[in-house]
Amino acid sequence: MNRDDLRKLRRKAAEIRRLTVEEIAHLGIGHVGGSMSIVEILVLLYYRHLKIDPARPKLETRDKFVMSKGHAGPALYAVLADRGFFPRALLQTLNQGGTNLPSHCDMNRTPGIDMTTGSLGQGLSAAVGIALGHRLKRLPGRVFALIGDGDTNEGQTWEAAMSAAMFGLGNLVAFTDYNKMQIDGPIEEIMKTDRLLDRWTSFGWHTQQVPGHDFVLLDEALQRALGEQHRPSMIIADTIKGKDLPGIEGDYNNHNMPLGEEQAEMLIALLKKKEEALT
């Protein structure tokens, strides 16, 4: 990744954050925190790695992405709109009656969404199934999944982890959005997932832990993961819930929060400035 690539990715991240804030602010409430913590992961995947064609969202041979923490739909919708899967104007319909952009990801409503999620713990199992299916059909597409650290509390996540290792799914790469927060408070105080790297390693996965807002390190980790042939890969990304939104970043209550007009305008102006500085 050269300097110019890096600058472009960082600018894109600021833009996606702005679009997501606009999208949620239009409704006035939404899953702000968990949408912000995953922006670098999404941007790295959708602007650098995923083999996708926005004009052909159903193409069988393309890469797939499963958003297990389905409540972070708004960030993914901003990315999909910007990549051209659907018009940007649709972002203004988030969660409104009859919309095709519901708060939780829905494969039957939104072009570019590969799996319906929202009930935590189910995403990684689906990703295992897609990866198995790709292997059976000898499809070249790789399978990516993104899970939350609260999402990781679900027993099903670990059942999926066992099966992915058992079946030697080298075509599966998962990220954990390790923002150390769930709804009721810090993971550390609610349901500990410390030594997370060791846990995944002991389940038979290829594992790495990297700063989740650093494109260079994330990219290097992803390259290594893609080099794995016979093991699933887990990249634990250390992230911050509400990242880059002053007053919201790191706030205990930013999971599903109201976003007022004034506050949104302030944030949008800030993010625009950031984009311009990176142009």
Partner: protein, 336 residues
Amino acid sequence: MNWSIRQPDEPDSEEMRTVYAEQLNAMANEDERIVVLDADLMKAHGTLAFKKAHPERAFDLGVAEANMVGVSAGLSTVGFIPFPATFSCFAARRAFDQFFISANYARQNVKLTGSDPGVSAAFNGGTHMSFEDVGLMRTIPGIVICEPSDPHSLRRLLPQIAYRQGSSYLRLHRKPTQVIYHQSEEFELGRGKVIADGEDLAIIAVGAIMVAEAIEAARRLLNEAVSAAVIDMHTIKPIDEALVIEYAGRTGAILTAENHQVRNGLGSAVAEVITDHHPVPMIRVGVQDEFGEVGTQEYLQQRYGLTADNLVVQAHRLLERKNAHATRKIHARSTV
């Protein structure tokens, strides 16, 4: 008409979750067996306050509903009265086997709470919209299913749920809810509440949304000189058979109203009583064979026909059927 509604000087709405948490707290002050469990939704259920007051008797299991219900069953075997809670969709669907086997089949005392029922899940959308939870729960032998329609009835019914031996499912509307009853009103688990008497038809409703809509529908019908009884059937199982039979006999027409699928919810429970004991024309208002979707609660009520408007329309359809039924009867008699 005798509406048993709140006094003007009482608050007109209260958050049900606050009432829920306060009542649990009050019961726990008196009884050391009361314990509260949650799956990363204590904030949503107002039980962080309980955790503060009784830190040793509050357990947050994280996002792990099946484990929460299993752990509750274990606590029950050693004499505790556990109140585990999560959204109704996950309470019913995700922890069903644990609730069925470890709690009910094992004859334990697990008081499961499922919140944000049906369209009240609103912006959480289809994945979170339980139109089937009562249906699943209703097939568990011996279970008690209760869905209070207002804060006051919740306050009165919760202790009865706690002290009735066996497992139960409380379908809890957790957001601000309109107060229907005065503070002096008494409630009995398993006995429906007659809010208004009527002669032409009986609207049997359940839950915060549909009882309020039923009252509104009955008011409008009264303006058209149609007299509709309104019954708050807060206990769906065991259903108050005697009351259903009484009103089937008295009015000859039953309209049910629920924020749930018409299959296997309140409407089905009432229909079972009617067909077994006193067949009369009946219409079930509720969600048809459809999944939930995202939107405001008002939008979704319109979308699925969970409104006073629709109840009035259906009441007229029902009365037509009732009259046709009566005419057929007379005709049949005269040709014998």
